[in-house]
Amino acid sequence: MNESADEPLALSVEHLSAWYGTRKAIENITVPVLERHITAIIGPSGCGKSTLIRCLNRMHEVVRGARAQGVVTLAGRNIYAADVDPVDLRRQIGMVFQKPNPFPTMTIYDNVVAGLRLQGGWNTRELDEVAERSLRQAALFDEVKDIWKKAAGSSLSGGQQQRLCIARTLAVEPRVILMDEPCSALDPIATYRIEELMSELKAQYTIAIVTHNMQQASRVSEFTAFMLAEDDRIGRLVEYGETASMFTNPRDRRTEDYITGRFG
Protein backbone atom coordinates (compact mmCIF):
# COMPACT_ATOMS: atom_id res chain seq x y z
CA MET A 1 0.00 0.00 0.00
CA ASN A 2 1.23 3.46 -0.79
CA GLU A 3 2.49 5.41 2.19
CA SER A 4 1.28 8.93 2.75
CA ALA A 5 1.77 8.13 6.38
CA ASP A 6 2.90 11.49 7.60
CA GLU A 7 -0.46 13.06 6.94
CA PRO A 8 -3.06 12.82 9.71
CA LEU A 9 -5.89 10.36 9.31
CA ALA A 10 -9.49 11.44 9.71
CA LEU A 11 -10.72 7.86 9.54
CA SER A 12 -8.80 4.66 9.72
CA VAL A 13 -10.57 1.55 8.46
CA GLU A 14 -9.07 -1.76 9.58
CA HIS A 15 -10.23 -5.25 8.66
CA LEU A 16 -13.79 -4.15 8.04
CA SER A 17 -16.29 -6.76 6.90
CA ALA A 18 -20.02 -6.34 6.50
CA TRP A 19 -23.00 -8.64 6.02
CA TYR A 20 -26.59 -8.32 4.95
CA GLY A 21 -28.12 -11.08 7.02
CA THR A 22 -26.05 -14.11 6.15
CA ARG A 23 -24.66 -12.74 2.90
CA LYS A 24 -21.22 -11.26 3.20
CA ALA A 25 -20.94 -8.05 1.20
CA ILE A 26 -17.39 -6.82 1.87
CA GLU A 27 -14.41 -8.51 3.45
CA ASN A 28 -11.35 -7.38 5.33
CA ILE A 29 -11.13 -3.84 4.02
CA THR A 30 -8.24 -1.81 5.35
CA VAL A 31 -7.95 1.70 3.97
CA PRO A 32 -7.05 5.14 5.34
CA VAL A 33 -9.07 8.31 4.82
CA LEU A 34 -6.72 11.24 5.12
CA GLU A 35 -7.81 14.41 6.80
CA ARG A 36 -8.77 17.36 4.60
CA HIS A 37 -8.28 15.37 1.45
CA ILE A 38 -10.70 13.79 -0.95
CA THR A 39 -10.59 10.02 -1.13
CA ALA A 40 -12.47 8.32 -3.93
CA ILE A 41 -13.78 4.77 -3.80
CA ILE A 42 -14.20 3.31 -7.27
CA GLY A 43 -15.14 -0.03 -8.70
CA PRO A 44 -17.69 -1.78 -10.90
CA SER A 45 -21.34 -2.15 -9.89
CA GLY A 46 -21.88 -4.51 -7.01
CA CYS A 47 -18.32 -4.33 -5.70
CA GLY A 48 -19.46 -3.14 -2.29
CA LYS A 49 -18.37 0.49 -2.43
CA SER A 50 -21.73 1.81 -1.21
CA THR A 51 -21.71 -0.78 1.55
CA LEU A 52 -18.25 0.33 2.58
CA ILE A 53 -19.06 3.99 2.74
CA ARG A 54 -22.24 3.33 4.68
CA CYS A 55 -20.27 1.42 7.24
CA LEU A 56 -18.20 4.51 7.88
CA ASN A 57 -21.04 6.31 9.63
CA ARG A 58 -22.92 3.21 10.68
CA MET A 59 -25.76 3.86 8.25
CA HIS A 60 -25.27 0.27 7.17
CA GLU A 61 -26.96 -0.91 10.37
CA VAL A 62 -30.16 0.90 9.48
CA VAL A 63 -31.03 -1.98 7.16
CA ARG A 64 -32.67 -4.83 9.06
CA GLY A 65 -30.34 -7.75 9.61
CA ALA A 66 -27.25 -5.87 8.47
CA ARG A 67 -24.10 -5.89 10.58
CA ALA A 68 -20.47 -4.95 10.35
CA GLN A 69 -17.33 -6.11 12.03
CA GLY A 70 -13.95 -4.47 12.25
CA VAL A 71 -12.37 -1.30 13.50
CA VAL A 72 -13.09 2.15 12.14
CA THR A 73 -11.23 4.79 14.08
CA LEU A 74 -12.38 8.39 14.26
CA ALA A 75 -10.32 10.76 16.41
CA GLY A 76 -8.75 7.87 18.22
CA ARG A 77 -11.97 6.01 19.04
CA ASN A 78 -13.40 2.97 17.34
CA ILE A 79 -16.86 3.90 16.11
CA TYR A 80 -17.96 0.30 16.46
CA ALA A 81 -17.13 0.18 20.15
CA ALA A 82 -20.02 -0.81 22.37
CA ASP A 83 -20.25 2.55 24.10
CA VAL A 84 -20.51 4.61 20.92
CA ASP A 85 -23.93 6.04 20.07
CA PRO A 86 -24.54 5.82 16.32
CA VAL A 87 -26.82 8.87 16.47
CA ASP A 88 -24.04 10.99 17.94
CA LEU A 89 -21.56 9.55 15.50
CA ARG A 90 -23.60 10.61 12.50
CA ARG A 91 -23.41 14.21 13.66
CA GLN A 92 -19.68 13.94 13.17
CA ILE A 93 -19.74 11.98 9.96
CA GLY A 94 -22.35 13.30 7.56
CA MET A 95 -23.63 11.80 4.35
CA VAL A 96 -24.85 13.06 0.99
CA PHE A 97 -26.85 10.58 -1.05
CA GLN A 98 -27.09 9.72 -4.70
CA LYS A 99 -30.55 11.10 -5.25
CA PRO A 100 -31.01 14.54 -3.69
CA ASN A 101 -33.45 14.16 -0.80
CA PRO A 102 -34.54 17.51 0.61
CA PHE A 103 -37.44 17.26 3.03
CA PRO A 104 -40.50 18.01 0.89
CA THR A 105 -42.62 19.66 3.57
CA MET A 106 -39.90 22.15 4.48
CA THR A 107 -38.68 25.40 2.98
CA ILE A 108 -35.07 25.80 1.80
CA TYR A 109 -34.19 27.47 5.08
CA ASP A 110 -35.92 24.79 7.16
CA ASN A 111 -34.08 22.12 5.21
CA VAL A 112 -30.67 23.63 5.88
CA VAL A 113 -31.27 23.96 9.62
CA ALA A 114 -33.17 20.67 9.92
CA GLY A 115 -30.17 18.90 11.38
CA LEU A 116 -29.76 21.57 14.05
CA ARG A 117 -33.46 21.71 14.84
CA LEU A 118 -33.52 17.94 15.26
CA GLN A 119 -30.74 18.37 17.81
CA GLY A 120 -32.55 21.15 19.57
CA GLY A 121 -31.31 24.09 21.60
CA TRP A 122 -30.66 26.68 18.91
CA ASN A 123 -32.31 30.08 18.74
CA THR A 124 -33.48 31.77 15.55
CA ARG A 125 -30.58 34.20 15.24
CA GLU A 126 -28.04 31.38 15.54
CA LEU A 127 -29.97 29.31 13.01
CA ASP A 128 -30.07 32.20 10.55
CA GLU A 129 -26.31 32.62 10.80
CA VAL A 130 -25.60 28.94 10.35
CA ALA A 131 -28.04 28.70 7.46
CA GLU A 132 -26.43 31.56 5.57
CA ARG A 133 -22.93 30.28 6.23
CA SER A 134 -23.78 26.75 5.09
CA LEU A 135 -25.56 27.94 1.97
CA ARG A 136 -22.57 30.13 1.08
CA GLN A 137 -20.23 27.20 1.60
CA ALA A 138 -22.44 25.15 -0.69
CA ALA A 139 -22.38 27.94 -3.28
CA LEU A 140 -26.15 28.19 -3.15
CA PHE A 141 -26.83 31.28 -1.04
CA ASP A 142 -26.87 33.86 -3.81
CA GLU A 143 -29.32 31.82 -5.83
CA VAL A 144 -31.84 31.37 -3.05
CA LYS A 145 -31.39 34.25 -0.65
CA ASP A 146 -34.61 35.95 -1.72
CA ILE A 147 -36.80 32.89 -1.47
CA TRP A 148 -35.09 30.69 1.07
CA LYS A 149 -37.70 31.13 3.76
CA LYS A 150 -40.63 30.79 1.41
CA ALA A 151 -39.88 28.29 -1.33
CA ALA A 152 -40.06 24.56 -0.69
CA GLY A 153 -36.79 22.66 -0.78
CA SER A 154 -38.16 20.43 -3.48
CA SER A 155 -38.90 23.35 -5.81
CA LEU A 156 -35.22 23.71 -6.76
CA SER A 157 -33.54 22.07 -9.72
CA GLY A 158 -31.73 18.76 -9.25
CA GLY A 159 -28.29 20.32 -8.97
CA GLN A 160 -29.53 22.97 -6.56
CA GLN A 161 -31.27 20.33 -4.46
CA GLN A 162 -28.05 18.42 -4.14
CA ARG A 163 -26.21 21.56 -3.07
CA LEU A 164 -29.02 22.12 -0.59
CA CYS A 165 -28.43 18.64 0.79
CA ILE A 166 -24.73 19.43 1.04
CA ALA A 167 -25.54 22.69 2.88
CA ARG A 168 -27.80 20.71 5.20
CA THR A 169 -24.93 18.34 5.96
CA LEU A 170 -22.46 21.22 6.42
CA ALA A 171 -24.76 22.99 8.89
CA VAL A 172 -24.20 20.25 11.41
CA GLU A 173 -20.43 20.82 11.07
CA PRO A 174 -19.28 17.24 10.69
CA ARG A 175 -15.64 16.26 10.65
CA VAL A 176 -16.03 13.98 7.67
CA ILE A 177 -18.44 14.16 4.75
CA LEU A 178 -19.32 10.93 2.99
CA MET A 179 -20.77 11.16 -0.50
CA ASP A 180 -22.42 8.20 -2.17
CA GLU A 181 -22.35 8.90 -5.91
CA PRO A 182 -23.58 12.47 -5.37
CA CYS A 183 -23.56 13.41 -9.04
CA SER A 184 -25.04 10.36 -10.75
CA ALA A 185 -28.50 11.87 -10.84
CA LEU A 186 -27.29 15.23 -12.15
CA ASP A 187 -26.53 16.72 -15.55
CA PRO A 188 -22.90 17.52 -16.50
CA ILE A 189 -23.06 21.21 -15.61
CA ALA A 190 -24.55 20.54 -12.19
CA THR A 191 -21.93 17.82 -11.76
CA TYR A 192 -19.17 20.25 -12.57
CA ARG A 193 -20.43 22.74 -10.00
CA ILE A 194 -20.55 20.09 -7.31
CA GLU A 195 -17.02 18.98 -8.14
CA GLU A 196 -15.87 22.60 -7.85
CA LEU A 197 -17.65 22.78 -4.53
CA MET A 198 -15.85 19.70 -3.31
CA SER A 199 -12.50 21.24 -4.14
CA GLU A 200 -13.40 24.28 -2.07
CA LEU A 201 -14.71 22.22 0.82
CA LYS A 202 -11.66 20.04 1.22
CA ALA A 203 -9.76 22.92 2.79
CA GLN A 204 -11.95 22.49 5.82
CA TYR A 205 -13.55 19.04 5.61
CA THR A 206 -12.47 15.50 4.93
CA ILE A 207 -14.40 14.00 2.05
CA ALA A 208 -14.84 10.41 0.95
CA ILE A 209 -16.72 9.92 -2.28
CA VAL A 210 -18.03 6.80 -3.94
CA THR A 211 -18.21 7.15 -7.68
CA HIS A 212 -18.66 4.87 -10.62
CA ASN A 213 -17.30 7.62 -12.86
CA MET A 214 -13.56 7.18 -13.17
CA GLN A 215 -13.01 10.51 -14.82
CA GLN A 216 -14.67 12.18 -11.87
CA ALA A 217 -12.42 10.26 -9.49
CA SER A 218 -9.34 11.35 -11.35
CA ARG A 219 -10.51 14.98 -11.52
CA VAL A 220 -11.59 15.40 -7.97
CA SER A 221 -9.74 13.07 -5.63
CA GLU A 222 -6.23 12.92 -4.29
CA PHE A 223 -6.39 9.33 -3.14
CA THR A 224 -8.32 6.44 -4.63
CA ALA A 225 -9.34 3.02 -3.42
CA PHE A 226 -10.29 0.45 -6.03
CA MET A 227 -12.66 -2.33 -4.99
CA LEU A 228 -13.71 -5.45 -6.78
CA ALA A 229 -16.06 -8.35 -6.15
CA GLU A 230 -14.91 -11.64 -7.60
CA ASP A 231 -17.10 -14.64 -8.37
CA ASP A 232 -18.07 -15.05 -4.73
CA ARG A 233 -19.63 -11.56 -4.89
CA ILE A 234 -17.73 -10.40 -1.85
CA GLY A 235 -16.17 -6.97 -2.23
CA ARG A 236 -12.48 -6.60 -1.45
CA LEU A 237 -9.96 -3.81 -1.70
CA VAL A 238 -7.66 -4.35 -4.64
CA GLU A 239 -5.51 -1.24 -4.55
CA TYR A 240 -5.20 2.06 -2.74
CA GLY A 241 -2.93 4.94 -3.57
CA GLU A 242 -2.50 8.45 -4.83
CA THR A 243 -4.96 9.08 -7.61
CA ALA A 244 -2.40 10.39 -10.07
CA SER A 245 -0.12 7.38 -9.84
CA MET A 246 -2.95 4.87 -9.69
CA PHE A 247 -4.45 6.09 -12.91
CA THR A 248 -1.19 6.38 -14.81
CA ASN A 249 0.67 3.46 -13.32
CA PRO A 250 -1.53 1.01 -11.46
CA ARG A 251 0.22 -1.76 -9.61
CA ASP A 252 -2.46 -4.42 -9.86
CA ARG A 253 -3.45 -5.95 -13.16
CA ARG A 254 -7.14 -5.83 -12.28
CA THR A 255 -6.92 -2.11 -11.56
CA GLU A 256 -5.35 -1.55 -14.91
CA ASP A 257 -8.08 -3.60 -16.61
CA TYR A 258 -10.81 -1.59 -14.92
CA ILE A 259 -9.25 1.77 -15.62
CA THR A 260 -8.62 1.05 -19.24
CA GLY A 261 -12.18 -0.11 -19.63
CA ARG A 262 -11.63 -3.80 -20.26
CA PHE A 263 -14.47 -4.49 -17.88
CA GLY A 264 -16.82 -2.67 -15.52
Binding site: R64, V87, D88, R91, G94, M95, L118, T169
Partner: protein, 283 residues
Protein backbone atom coordinates in the same frame (compact mmCIF):
# COMPACT_ATOMS: atom_id res chain seq x y z
CA UNK B 1 -61.68 -13.83 -43.26
CA UNK B 2 -59.85 -11.47 -45.51
CA UNK B 3 -57.76 -8.75 -43.82
CA UNK B 4 -60.17 -5.88 -44.47
CA UNK B 5 -63.14 -7.73 -42.98
CA UNK B 6 -61.06 -8.87 -40.01
CA UNK B 7 -60.07 -5.32 -39.14
CA UNK B 8 -63.65 -4.10 -39.47
CA UNK B 9 -64.83 -6.83 -37.11
CA UNK B 10 -62.05 -5.95 -34.64
CA UNK B 11 -63.03 -2.30 -34.66
CA UNK B 12 -66.67 -3.23 -34.16
CA UNK B 13 -65.80 -5.43 -31.17
CA UNK B 14 -63.83 -2.53 -29.73
CA UNK B 15 -66.79 -0.22 -30.00
CA UNK B 16 -69.21 -2.77 -28.57
CA UNK B 17 -66.97 -3.24 -25.56
CA UNK B 18 -66.63 0.48 -25.08
CA UNK B 19 -70.40 0.91 -25.29
CA UNK B 20 -71.03 -1.86 -22.77
CA UNK B 21 -68.57 -0.37 -20.27
CA UNK B 22 -70.11 3.07 -20.67
CA UNK B 23 -73.56 1.56 -20.15
CA UNK B 24 -72.52 -0.12 -16.92
CA UNK B 25 -70.88 3.04 -15.66
CA UNK B 26 -74.06 4.94 -16.50
CA UNK B 27 -76.12 2.42 -14.54
CA UNK B 28 -73.87 2.95 -11.53
CA UNK B 29 -74.19 6.71 -11.80
CA UNK B 30 -77.96 6.48 -12.24
CA UNK B 31 -78.27 4.40 -9.10
CA UNK B 32 -76.20 6.85 -7.09
CA UNK B 33 -78.05 9.84 -8.45
CA UNK B 34 -81.36 8.10 -7.77
CA UNK B 35 -80.47 7.48 -4.13
CA UNK B 36 -79.26 11.00 -3.56
CA UNK B 37 -82.10 12.48 -5.56
CA UNK B 38 -84.78 10.50 -3.76
CA UNK B 39 -83.41 11.44 -0.37
CA UNK B 40 -83.05 15.03 -1.49
CA UNK B 41 -86.60 15.34 -2.79
CA UNK B 42 -88.26 13.60 0.13
CA UNK B 43 -86.00 15.06 2.76
CA UNK B 44 -86.10 18.65 1.60
CA UNK B 45 -89.85 18.69 2.19
CA UNK B 46 -89.44 18.23 5.91
CA UNK B 47 -86.35 20.33 6.29
CA UNK B 48 -86.96 23.63 7.97
CA UNK B 49 -85.38 25.77 10.63
CA UNK B 50 -87.26 23.89 13.35
CA UNK B 51 -85.65 20.67 12.24
CA UNK B 52 -82.29 21.93 13.34
CA UNK B 53 -83.40 23.61 16.52
CA UNK B 54 -86.31 21.71 18.02
CA UNK B 55 -86.58 18.52 20.01
CA UNK B 56 -88.72 15.67 18.71
CA UNK B 57 -92.39 16.40 19.19
CA UNK B 58 -94.66 13.91 20.95
CA UNK B 59 -96.67 11.55 18.77
CA UNK B 60 -99.47 13.23 16.91
CA UNK B 61 -98.15 16.75 17.39
CA UNK B 62 -96.81 18.47 14.29
CA UNK B 63 -93.40 20.02 14.00
CA UNK B 64 -90.45 19.20 16.17
CA UNK B 65 -86.99 18.44 14.94
CA UNK B 66 -83.82 16.50 15.42
CA UNK B 67 -81.65 19.11 17.05
CA UNK B 68 -80.66 16.83 19.91
CA UNK B 69 -79.89 13.99 17.51
CA UNK B 70 -77.63 16.19 15.38
CA UNK B 71 -75.72 17.37 18.44
CA UNK B 72 -75.69 13.82 19.74
CA UNK B 73 -74.18 12.44 16.54
CA UNK B 74 -71.46 15.07 16.68
CA UNK B 75 -70.66 14.25 20.31
CA UNK B 76 -70.64 10.47 19.86
CA UNK B 77 -68.55 10.60 16.68
CA UNK B 78 -66.15 12.94 18.47
CA UNK B 79 -65.72 10.46 21.31
CA UNK B 80 -65.15 7.69 18.79
CA UNK B 81 -62.60 9.78 16.92
CA UNK B 82 -60.76 10.80 20.08
CA UNK B 83 -60.38 7.16 21.05
CA UNK B 84 -59.65 5.61 17.68
CA UNK B 85 -57.51 8.20 15.89
CA UNK B 86 -54.59 8.52 18.32
CA UNK B 87 -54.59 4.77 18.96
CA UNK B 88 -54.90 3.95 15.29
CA UNK B 89 -52.17 6.38 14.21
CA UNK B 90 -49.74 5.04 16.81
CA UNK B 91 -50.53 1.47 15.82
CA UNK B 92 -50.04 2.42 12.17
CA UNK B 93 -46.68 3.98 13.03
CA UNK B 94 -45.63 0.77 14.75
CA UNK B 95 -46.65 -1.34 11.75
CA UNK B 96 -44.94 0.91 9.23
CA UNK B 97 -41.73 1.73 11.09
CA UNK B 98 -41.07 -1.24 13.35
CA UNK B 99 -43.34 -3.87 11.94
CA UNK B 100 -41.29 -6.56 10.22
CA UNK B 101 -42.10 -9.32 12.68
CA UNK B 102 -44.71 -11.93 13.53
CA UNK B 103 -46.49 -9.71 16.00
CA UNK B 104 -46.96 -7.00 13.39
CA UNK B 105 -48.35 -9.54 10.94
CA UNK B 106 -50.81 -10.62 13.59
CA UNK B 107 -51.89 -7.05 14.18
CA UNK B 108 -52.43 -6.51 10.47
CA UNK B 109 -54.44 -9.68 10.18
CA UNK B 110 -56.62 -8.80 13.16
CA UNK B 111 -57.19 -5.30 11.82
CA UNK B 112 -58.41 -6.78 8.56
CA UNK B 113 -60.69 -9.18 10.43
CA UNK B 114 -62.06 -6.30 12.49
CA UNK B 115 -63.02 -4.50 9.28
CA UNK B 116 -65.34 -7.33 8.42
CA UNK B 117 -67.09 -7.75 11.77
CA UNK B 118 -70.77 -6.81 11.52
CA UNK B 119 -71.42 -3.48 13.17
CA UNK B 120 -74.15 -4.94 15.35
CA UNK B 121 -71.65 -7.35 16.83
CA UNK B 122 -69.44 -4.40 17.68
CA UNK B 123 -72.47 -2.85 19.35
CA UNK B 124 -73.01 -5.95 21.46
CA UNK B 125 -69.35 -5.88 22.38
CA UNK B 126 -69.60 -2.29 23.56
CA UNK B 127 -72.78 -3.23 25.42
CA UNK B 128 -70.95 -5.94 27.32
CA UNK B 129 -67.87 -3.83 27.96
CA UNK B 130 -69.36 -0.46 28.82
CA UNK B 131 -73.13 -0.54 29.30
CA UNK B 132 -73.26 -3.52 31.64
CA UNK B 133 -70.59 -2.32 34.09
CA UNK B 134 -72.06 1.18 34.03
CA UNK B 135 -75.58 -0.20 34.39
CA UNK B 136 -76.87 2.35 31.91
CA UNK B 137 -76.80 3.36 28.28
CA UNK B 138 -74.49 6.24 27.48
CA UNK B 139 -72.90 8.34 24.80
CA UNK B 140 -69.58 6.95 26.00
CA UNK B 141 -70.64 3.42 25.13
CA UNK B 142 -71.72 4.62 21.70
CA UNK B 143 -68.40 6.35 21.24
CA UNK B 144 -66.53 3.18 22.17
CA UNK B 145 -68.54 1.16 19.67
CA UNK B 146 -67.81 3.64 16.89
CA UNK B 147 -64.16 3.74 17.89
CA UNK B 148 -63.89 -0.03 17.42
CA UNK B 149 -65.41 0.36 13.96
CA UNK B 150 -63.10 3.21 13.02
CA UNK B 151 -59.90 1.69 14.35
CA UNK B 152 -58.98 -0.71 11.51
CA UNK B 153 -59.53 1.97 8.88
CA UNK B 154 -57.25 4.42 10.69
CA UNK B 155 -54.57 1.78 11.32
CA UNK B 156 -54.43 0.57 7.73
CA UNK B 157 -54.60 4.07 6.24
CA UNK B 158 -51.81 5.29 8.53
CA UNK B 159 -49.59 2.33 7.74
CA UNK B 160 -50.07 2.72 4.01
CA UNK B 161 -49.50 6.48 4.02
CA UNK B 162 -46.34 6.12 6.09
CA UNK B 163 -45.01 3.44 3.79
CA UNK B 164 -45.48 5.85 0.90
CA UNK B 165 -42.97 8.22 2.46
CA UNK B 166 -39.72 7.42 0.62
CA UNK B 167 -36.98 5.70 2.60
CA UNK B 168 -34.54 8.32 1.33
CA UNK B 169 -36.13 10.90 3.63
CA UNK B 170 -35.67 8.69 6.66
CA UNK B 171 -32.06 8.09 5.62
CA UNK B 172 -31.46 11.82 5.21
CA UNK B 173 -32.73 12.44 8.72
CA UNK B 174 -30.74 9.59 10.27
CA UNK B 175 -27.60 10.75 8.46
CA UNK B 176 -27.98 14.15 10.13
CA UNK B 177 -27.69 12.47 13.50
CA UNK B 178 -31.36 12.29 14.44
CA UNK B 179 -32.61 9.34 16.49
CA UNK B 180 -35.27 7.09 14.98
CA UNK B 181 -38.19 8.38 17.02
CA UNK B 182 -37.45 12.00 16.11
CA UNK B 183 -37.15 10.98 12.48
CA UNK B 184 -40.61 9.45 12.64
CA UNK B 185 -42.22 12.30 14.55
CA UNK B 186 -40.60 15.32 12.88
CA UNK B 187 -39.97 14.11 9.34
CA UNK B 188 -42.04 11.07 8.38
CA UNK B 189 -45.31 11.97 10.08
CA UNK B 190 -45.51 15.55 8.75
CA UNK B 191 -44.71 14.32 5.25
CA UNK B 192 -47.58 11.84 5.46
CA UNK B 193 -49.96 14.18 7.26
CA UNK B 194 -52.22 14.76 4.27
CA UNK B 195 -52.77 11.06 3.82
CA UNK B 196 -53.35 10.56 7.51
CA UNK B 197 -56.00 13.28 7.50
CA UNK B 198 -57.67 11.50 4.60
CA UNK B 199 -57.73 8.21 6.48
CA UNK B 200 -59.16 9.86 9.56
CA UNK B 201 -61.88 11.61 7.61
CA UNK B 202 -62.87 8.42 5.81
CA UNK B 203 -63.14 6.63 9.13
CA UNK B 204 -65.26 9.45 10.52
CA UNK B 205 -67.50 9.49 7.47
CA UNK B 206 -68.21 5.80 7.92
CA UNK B 207 -68.85 6.06 11.63
CA UNK B 208 -71.27 8.96 11.26
CA UNK B 209 -73.83 6.84 9.50
CA UNK B 210 -73.67 3.74 11.66
CA UNK B 211 -76.93 2.76 13.33
CA UNK B 212 -76.63 -0.81 14.63
CA UNK B 213 -73.77 -0.21 17.06
CA UNK B 214 -75.67 2.65 18.67
CA UNK B 215 -78.86 0.66 19.22
CA UNK B 216 -77.90 -0.70 22.58
CA UNK B 217 -75.10 1.60 23.52
CA UNK B 218 -76.17 5.19 23.08
CA UNK B 219 -79.78 4.00 22.88
CA UNK B 220 -81.22 7.35 21.81
CA UNK B 221 -82.89 10.11 23.75
CA UNK B 222 -85.91 12.31 23.10
CA UNK B 223 -84.60 15.16 25.18
CA UNK B 224 -81.60 17.40 25.32
CA UNK B 225 -78.61 15.66 26.81
CA UNK B 226 -74.97 16.56 26.66
CA UNK B 227 -73.87 14.32 29.50
CA UNK B 228 -71.53 11.62 28.27
CA UNK B 229 -72.72 9.09 30.81
CA UNK B 230 -76.38 9.19 29.87
CA UNK B 231 -78.27 7.89 26.80
CA UNK B 232 -77.86 10.20 23.84
CA UNK B 233 -79.75 10.75 20.61
CA UNK B 234 -78.10 10.27 17.24
CA UNK B 235 -79.38 10.99 13.76
CA UNK B 236 -79.21 7.39 12.43
CA UNK B 237 -81.02 6.14 15.53
CA UNK B 238 -83.72 8.73 15.17
CA UNK B 239 -84.14 7.97 11.49
CA UNK B 240 -84.52 4.30 12.32
CA UNK B 241 -87.06 4.99 15.03
CA UNK B 242 -89.13 7.29 12.81
CA UNK B 243 -88.92 5.10 9.75
CA UNK B 244 -90.41 2.05 11.45
CA UNK B 245 -93.17 4.06 13.07
CA UNK B 246 -96.67 4.25 11.57
CA UNK B 247 -96.82 8.06 11.51
CA UNK B 248 -96.49 10.08 8.32
CA UNK B 249 -95.07 13.14 10.00
CA UNK B 250 -92.34 10.98 11.49
CA UNK B 251 -91.66 9.40 8.12
CA UNK B 252 -91.10 12.84 6.66
CA UNK B 253 -88.69 13.66 9.46
CA UNK B 254 -86.89 10.38 8.85
CA UNK B 255 -86.30 11.45 5.25
CA UNK B 256 -84.97 14.77 6.46
CA UNK B 257 -82.64 12.97 8.84
CA UNK B 258 -81.45 10.74 6.03
CA UNK B 259 -80.76 13.85 3.96
CA UNK B 260 -78.70 15.37 6.75
CA UNK B 261 -76.62 12.19 6.95
CA UNK B 262 -76.06 12.01 3.21
CA UNK B 263 -75.03 15.67 3.07
CA UNK B 264 -72.65 15.15 5.99
CA UNK B 265 -70.97 12.15 4.35
CA UNK B 266 -70.80 13.93 0.98
CA UNK B 267 -69.22 16.98 2.61
CA UNK B 268 -66.61 14.83 4.36
CA UNK B 269 -65.79 12.98 1.14
CA UNK B 270 -65.41 16.26 -0.73
CA UNK B 271 -63.12 17.51 2.01
CA UNK B 272 -61.05 14.34 1.65
CA UNK B 273 -60.68 15.02 -2.07
CA UNK B 274 -59.57 18.58 -1.42
CA UNK B 275 -56.91 17.45 1.02
CA UNK B 276 -55.71 14.59 -1.17
CA UNK B 277 -55.29 16.53 -4.41
CA UNK B 278 -52.29 18.70 -3.40
CA UNK B 279 -50.65 15.50 -2.17
CA UNK B 280 -50.94 13.87 -5.57
CA UNK B 281 -49.51 16.81 -7.49
CA UNK B 282 -46.51 16.82 -5.16
CA UNK B 283 -45.56 13.33 -6.25
Amino acid sequence: MRPARRSRWRKARCRIFEALSTLCAAVAVIVLVAVIGYVLVNGARALNFDFFTQLPAPVGEPGGGMANAIVGTLIIVCIGALISIPTGVLAGIYLAEYGENRFADLVRFLADVLTGIPSIVVGILAYALVVVPMQKFSALAGGVALAVLMLPTVIRATEEMLRLVPGSLREASLALGAPRWKTILRIVLPTASGGLATGAMLAIARATGETAPLLFTAFGNSFWNTSLVDPMAAVPLQVFQYAISPYDSWHAQAWAGALVLVVLVLALSAAVRLVARPLQTQE
